[in-house]
């Protein structure tokens, strides 16, 4: 009979656990989506930047829902960094502290006979946040 009374705390504990799990998975999922969009915005902004300058990079970053944080030449390439200003409060806070809401991309001139035919290096995105 004592077992019956014990079920209430168990139910409460299980509820808390499940709610925390659901919240965390939602935040992580949202963060993953925002990071993917930041990557895409950085790639496309870098390509615009190398072709038409940083004003074009800003236009494309904003058209993709991102904000251009840095843009400039790196050697013959153009390097851009963007951040995603949107998202829920939880995702924004954790994303900013983890650097997951910014992404960088490097694009080079298309005509160079280099080993980089597409001109895009989507790497490094989000690892060098802030």
């Amino acid at each position: 009979m004592d077992g019956d009374r014990g079920s209430i705390p168990i139910v409460i504990a299980a509820s808390c656990g499940v709610l925390v799990m659901a919240t965390v998975s939602l935040a992580v999922g949202e963060l993953a989506v925002l990071a993917a969009r930041a990557d895409a915005a950085a790639d496309l902004a870098a390509l615009a930047g190398v072709a038409h300058g940083c004003a074009a990079a800003r236009q494309i970053a904003e058209a993709n829902g991102a904000r251009l944080e840095a843009c400039g030449p790196r050697g013959a390439d153009t390097s851009v960094t963007v951040t995603m200003p949107s998202g829920s409060l939880v995702a924004r806070m954790t994303g900013r502290s983890l650097g997951r809401l910014s992404a960088s991309a490097l694009a080079g001139p298309p005509m160079l006979p280099s080993t980089r035919p597409s001109g895009v290096q989507p790497e490094a995105a989000s690892l060098n946040g802030q």
Binding site: M1, D4, R5, S7, I8, V11, A14, S15, V18, L19, M21, A22, S25, L26, V28, G29, E30, A32, V33, A36, R37, D39, A40, D43, L44, L47, A48, A51, H52, A56, Q59, I60, A63, N64
Partner: protein
Amino acid sequence: MRAHRHGGERGQAIVELAFAVPALLSIMLLGMWGVTVARDSVVLAGQARDIARALARGEQGSPSDPSIRMQQSTDGSTVTVRLTREVDTPVLGGFALTLSQSATTLRESG
């Protein structure tokens, strides 16, 4: 009297469990579904970027999956690709959620 009260408590505990267990399972299911929604959205965002890039170069592009719908629009010097996909929710009974991701890029002239 005492036995009667114990019986009531026991019934209450069973009723609590009868509500709590399905509710918790539903929330867990929704959480797992949220992860697949996020994964699908990441895929959509990546494909939108790739297709926008291909169209900007004057090439063709189409989504990898027939359940993904594509809208493309051109505005002056830019190309926008919007990919949408409907996903069903598991618990809320057929309520369909529409995922949408878009990408905009500059058209390359020449």
